[in-house]
Symmetry: D3
Subunit: 299 residues, 6 copies
């Protein structure tokens, strides 16, 4: 082998060796990945996310993907001649919209199964109906009826435990049933969070379209790499957090309080952000953690 | 208790006792049910089929449902402004049609899951993509390219075995992937037949819109209740069998030859036809069986 | 099929479907059946009881039969030239009587095994000696020595758990050993009750020769279909309960307090009373239940 | 410790150490013991046999006891005013006699269970009815109907395998059922032999009332300690073997041919004959073995 | 068989039967044997110890051997031109000495494996490094640095549990690692004691070069056969115990307090002392037991 | 994160993703690594080898290390005043040398255990004595007695299977026992080869001090990256192979013929050569493979 080639392969080996302690730390641990945003639209990013999760599976972790389908749903709603409607950021979901939403989410679901299968790993795509995974009640938006939008009341994780034990990579779309076994749409962030709690995940990672939490969103240099629950609460109280970040952060804090060890807000627009977060000592995005947990220096 | 009531409950007990030898015979055996036709459209029949399969599950059988979605697919194809097209009875399936077919089949799939869950049994809805269950190659109709219509080349039953072992009732929609992991539509009869062979089912039951096989279709009194593979072959050779029955009968015969013990063509328009076939000594429809098997008198 | 036949089979299917929720409720649950009285003498009733229990086994319950042998023991005692003797309803059991009682109980035991085996279910007949199941101490009747009559001091349920796990239907005759490994006769009601507690049975059903508990035994219209432990205690305090019913009711109340969910006093003279109680919504006899348990309307 | 005591305990240790290779050789192996004759009557011998079998169980073997009840049956037949009757050494067994025989055999069976339990080992007493262990057809004696005497047609060893796996010591009494599930008496030697074959026992030991096989029964010095099947056949052909020994020897030879490694005819009148045979290098009685097996020097 | 021979074999059987209750009592129980002293040097005694432990294994116990290597280490230290050095009875262990000590201990370890394997039992020789079994910190002797001498801080018994479950006889040499994964020598008594506690052994037996604990070491007639922890404490307080016995007795008391049921100080110079202690009712040496435990009369 | 950093972490992710198909290919497969030569002496290389093997373990492979101890043995032989002696490349091994060899090999063995444990993986160090793994007979060199040098006659892989199943990384030193349970030294290449065959390893990798097999050892450019068994045989026949490479190549060919899928001769002097071989598409050294196997292009 030539000198230059040798140098190159050496560096490769070094990267693998560097991954060793991380592989050890998360061995047989459950990692829930909320998959959404740009990373679900850009074909290249999509491929990278699936590669990352598949790799996590192969080196001994137990990943679960929870995905949304946002823009694709709107596209199909329009295709059938209806107009998408939102109330406080929640999709107004009449019966016809619900039917389309379920069809689209399942289509997206199976396309992810397909990509994982292509990489040689056994995947199974389920919705919150299968095995009674997600049970909901009707959610109102400031008292207003917005149709088949569900608030999770119960997670029955047996189906996920069964599938993980049989070595499948479960891919979940956020649809649930209420007490009368009617179909409801669920916010994917909420579903990921509730599932992570129910299976006592080691990590919950949100792939988002932002770099992380900023002290001052206007100033990119104020990205916070680690945030305890108390600190997050202070930031919120002080009015630093707003928009779509507020419910997401609330979700993160609840997950931590219900036993998930660490929650990450990652920038899904960065290729392989998941892998980078887990396998290198260069932290990416913002990690939310328990107050008691000794901070682990990321930078 | 009053005399009349007592008489009534006695008769009920008698029916349950009558079911005893049938429950014994099929205990822990796999029964594949091809679910289609009117029984999928009429809401009352639908409820009965699901009750029947759920009961089979509860008394110790291992049912697997394989379903189609025929008319519903056409309805959605039209809804999006396209025109359904058929070649020799096979749906011409371009990419746009395939996308809709997959969405509709998955929607139907999850609605069946929902109904089974409502009856208190754990169901899981999968397609042939999950766990790589159904692998196909492109199917041509008399040499003509009809798009994403697949011919099954391989069944990987591990996912079904895993789910049955974990006590789920699997519900399968007939979509598969080719060698390049592209999505294909599969004829539901073919899928049911291939799956029954792969899991070595004890029984394969087709819910159809006919009463069974007739010697003379014009004469209702010529319904055949039992048919060996040889007899079926003769009937075909003699030109008695035609139309949609021919490929179905071929499927049945192949299943028998590949190890399925008994195949039934049932009239799905009769309420609880499945239960009646299995639990009473009044045979329904036509049973196809091996030449060697001693005929078991049905009427 | 003719119209009339069709009508008939439809009704049959309906009965099976009606059984569905009951099958679900008791799936994998243990049901202890105290088998005695007329139902053990009348050949027709005997056949029905065995059919019922076998059906329960086949549809997924875990029944255990505990039986007595009363009249048959007296018959054999007389046959060998002795005179049966009773003290306060308890058989005075000298060594010779004990020997005969054990022989007769084991004979009865194996004849039940035989009947269950004939229906195609694996049965195993044991006494309280096998696996050290029932350990006793000498029981005195108002201070009087009545010989080898034992009071249960310990139940070792491992043998029953092993047999249930291996899918046997255990049939138990009420004989036990004291601390010196001497043989003792045990009241079958006591044995059934102690076993139901030890295996944490879901149900304990007594097949008796009465219709159930009456408020006023003289007035058949006062049959009580549900009775909480408190209500039973009141009835006793008020002197409504007497005769053989008193110890039986005490047994029932103790069983409920030790964790058995529901105890039934059934009329064994009604064919298939067990099946009717469990599979139809026509309650039979009297159910004893915990005060806390919400009454479940039977009529 | 005094010198004399020390000497004594040393010798004890030596005996235990001597047992070591034998314990190893039969570890986890099945040994069927046909228990009958004087060893079942003399209380002291009885205790020794049970001690021996219990010890075998505790040091890792898997013993199964098969026992008769001969003289005790006759005693009870007479007790109920009947006269025992024999045809060619087989008990003429009408229905009444069969009923008594079954009661007596089960009584003996449970008394053995009792003795083993007293030594702290889990025993379970079954008959050939339990789990359908022994299936028979009517046996005729030179064409003469002798009632409920059965010839074994099928052994279903699952129940024994289940019980051994759950660490029980099974004790079997030789009663079986015919195709109509009628009760039959079986010769205990035949039952032991058929069971040993069905469970592929390593050893089958008959406890008898003779010292072993003699070349010349009149001359005690002609006791044969090892006999191959061929040699046994020659002895029979030459007319050396007669009386009750002939069927027993035929049984032994059949067992060897059906896969039992070694059959022993032991003198049950010698205390601990079983232990001596297995744990010391002083062979006792006569061992029957395969022609191919290299003779293992016993004296 | 001759009269005299028969007499002899009878006595043998008697010894085996006498062992029965002891075999039962310790069935599937863990027994840790600290093997050291003369019993490790004298070839004949060595053979006896290995025979004893192998027998214990074969009759169903779960023995673990922990051994030292004392004199052999000194011999090799001298062989390489160094001088063994001791501080308060602890070997001063510089790096070079540690290297030799580890080599010698492993050699001894594998020679014991060899002897056990020769008797047909699966043995595996490990040190406290394997599976991270023994973790230590540096031990100082009255504040003085004596090199690589370790004090046990943590026992990780998983490796022993795994090996016992897979039916191996584990043989352990007392070497451990500190927090920096450096190699340390450990006192074998300490190791045996810590291991017995960690695996919750039923018995811990020290093979020593003394007869047991004496009230007055000068008077052989004052050997104590049973000693409760309180009594031991009194003896120590009263100054009766000194020399090497003091730390050993402290170890014994600690083991009892941490859950080991019974600790024995045996005279390893007596052949088969282990077997005699366990299988006969002639106690040997001194047994240390809990105050609460009712004394079990040994003499 | 800065641009430059981002670039760097991206490249890292790329390397991990590149490893994906390799991780998949060898998942749950056994890889035997013969560890020797410079890689055992140079501390840096040693660390790399251990890191590599540990990583293989963590990502789901089942590695087994087989190691020698060559130079270290000679060093200790000299240290005790003896002179190492070789006959045809085999160490003349008298009893004293054997004793030292065993001590040294075990010391090396445990130091490797230590290094693996330090990386957080459970290791266990065994020799061929443990569990009777390696049985040998005396090996002669051209008819000359060279002492305790053994030729493997039998491999008993149960101990390795048990340890792999319990998730240990087994490290084996090449010492075995002959039929009389005497200790023998074994060539480490032979041991690795015999073990790989016995456990049906997927890969056997030799870490050597050469770059691989050359067509012309004098011309570095003639390194052969893939060699079928037939080609190897030709090379040997044509006299291209000589020295220490000849027996090694014979070993490789035998392994292939006995079922090992692929054998690698790697240059142990290259850091992480093992990782590079397995995880990158830059082949290193020479791979020996079956004639039938389609060549897999490495460069």
């Amino acid at each position: 082998m030539e000198e230059k080639n040798m140098q190159e392969v050496m560096e490769k080996a070094q990267v693998l060796i560097e991954a060793l302690p991380y592989i050890q730390r998360f061995n047989r641990k459950i990692i829930v990945v909320k998959y959404g945003g740009s990373a679900m639209i850009d074909e290249e990013l999509k491929k990278h996310v699936i590669q990352d999760v598949t790799l996590l599976k192969l080196v001994g972790f137990k990943p679960i993907i929870v995905h949304g389908g946002g823009k694709e749903i709107s596209r199909w709603v329009e295709k059938t001649g209806m107009q998408p409607e939102f109330v406080n950021g929640l999709r107004k979901t009449d019966a016809a919209t619900m039917e389309i939403a379920e069809m689209v989410l399942n289509k997206v679901n199976k396309s992810l199964v397909q990509m994982v299968e292509e990489l040689g790993v056994n995947a199974i795509g389920i919705s919150g109906k299968d095995g009674g995974l997600l049970r909901v009640e009707k959610k109102y938006s400031d008292g207003q009826d917005i149709g088949y939008v569900g608030e999770i009341t119960e997670v029955n994780p047996k189906i996920l435990e069964d599938l993980l034990e049989r070595d499948f990579l479960p891919i979940v779309c956020p649809i649930g049933m209420d007490a009368n076994y009617e179909t409801y749409n669920i916010n994917a962030d909420d579903a990921a969070c509730a599932i992570a709690q129910a299976v006592q995940a080691e990590k919950l990672a949100f792939l988002t379209d932002i770099e992380g939490v900023y002290k001052d969103p206007a100033d990119k240099s104020t990205l916070i790499s680690e945030l305890t629950v108390s600190e997050a609460r202070e930031l919120i109280a002080d009015g630093f957090i707003g928009g779509g970040m507020l419910p997401k952060l609330n979700n993160c804090m609840e997950a931590i309080e219900k036993g998930v060890s660490r929650v990450h807000i990652l920038d899904g627009r960065i290729a392989h952000c998941l892998l980078l977060e887990i396998f290198t000592n260069k932290g990416i995005g913002t990690a939310i953690l328990d107050d008691k947990e000794k901070k682990f220096n990321h930078e």
